[in-house]
Symmetry: C2
Subunit: 246 residues, 2 copies
């Protein structure tokens, strides 16, 4: 725990190691919460984003950082867990259309349910998740109505929620501060808060490049996440510190 943090309210912050969750962590810290990062090793193709999460949690002085192993690859069904190839060089229209093969079945529900468990054992009153409804409109579990339904569930699911309903304590509030922001707006917000985006990893299919990028991995430059990231920096008018393989 960082010194001087003991009087602060606690927040569990889902931290993937990407641009969005790094910004979300900076926002939670900036709003005065004692931020506990939670990173899932869920069977994603590459460890690069997990290493990025470790670096980012270190920089933003998260009060604690849990790594939680949960093998979603056991169930299969997603490009992100290795069943299907990660699509490259899709058009903006294709990225915006439908549910992509990088959708991991019920992933955010699994992650939020574990964040809820963690919040309850930490006596944290807040959960932060960096979902974004604009750039990732194809993921059902990034939509505002989904986040709202999870808040309703959280109030009913937990001891903390039941106590809050009875007038004791505050329950657990879910925050999705990036929900309505464009990628450019997220980048501007994070830059204002001092986020070093060169240490984040958004790519669905990072490329090994010893001595470069994040612990020897660089962004592929062609998957949906890389394209949205590159475009976001361009639209924000902020120099993109990302190393892209191509």
């Amino acid at each position: 725990m960082a010194s001087g943090d003991s009087g602060k309210r606690k927040a569990v912050v889902l931290l993937s190691g990407g641009l969005d969750s790094a910004t979300c962590l900076a926002i939670a810290a900036n709003e005065g919460f004692q931020a506990h990062a939670l990173t899932f090793r869920y069977g994603q193709r590459h460890q690069a984003e997990i290493e990025a999460a470790r670096t980012i949690a270190g920089i933003y002085a998260a009060a604690g950082h849990d790594f939680f192993d949960i093998d979603l690859a056991q169930f299969g069904g997603s490009a992100l867990t290795g069943d299907v190839a990660v699509p490259k060089d899709r058009s903006e229209a294709d990225i915006a259309d439908g549910i992509p093969v990088t959708y991991v079945p019920a992933r955010n529900t699994v992650f939020l349910s574990l964040a809820l468990a963690r919040a309850e054992t930490l006596a944290a009153t807040e959960i932060f998740i960096g979902v974004n409804a604009l750039d990732y409109s194809g993921y059902p579990d990034c939509r505002p109505e989904y986040i709202k339904a999870f808040q309703t569930l959280a109030n009913l699911a937990t001891k903390t929620g039941v106590e809050a309903a009875g007038g004791e304590g505050e329950g657990i509030t879910l925050h999705a501060p990036l929900q309505d922001m464009t990628k450019a707006e997220i980048i501007r917000k994070g830059t204002g808060l001092g986020v070093d985006y060169s240490r984040t990893m958004s790519c669905y299919d990072p490329v090994l490049a010893p001595g470069q990028g994040n612990d020897g991995f660089v962004h592929c430059g062609h998957c949906d996440a890389c394209q949205l990231r590159r475009k976001g920096f361009a639209e924000a008018g902020i120099d993109d510190p990302t190393v892209y393989a191509g």
Copy 2:
């Protein structure tokens, strides 16, 4: 997959190895679903219930049986994951009052979210969970309003749910058939379906007894779950096949 099952609709059935979930599996099979059991190794104190789940899935010809490792003990906070002693010989009034120390933070939410992921990858249209609101009134995540909130979330969270909302496919329906039944009613129902309760394990704190019970473990006879089990058989007027240590 059991032969002749291929035309049936698929259901994911949460199977702990206890009396309730065994009954739930029998109900799902009896209703004509191709039942896929899902058992969590979540850091519970004893492996006896996991072995019971294996036996029961074998008996009731579940079309498949997944064991999923998820270390909820990493977060702590429950008697069931070893942080606190399991209470014994509590009165009926105490059992009915408040949230017990055997509550595992957000456990059913974590389990249901993983069942949702499994249902989606299996193309299952149903999830069965053996929660019961009468005997376990203290657990927030067994209440009808909780189950209803999870159904709402499931519809919004998944690709399957989004497709169903668009008129394609059926989505995923959550069933909690034991929800409003007393323990005696559950036992009568399961007995009618041929459930062999001697092979189930309800105990929060099983006792090693080589050569007896379930793979050498017997029920303690004194925890809340044992007391409710014993009382249920008595009220049902059905011989209790359970071996209790005391």
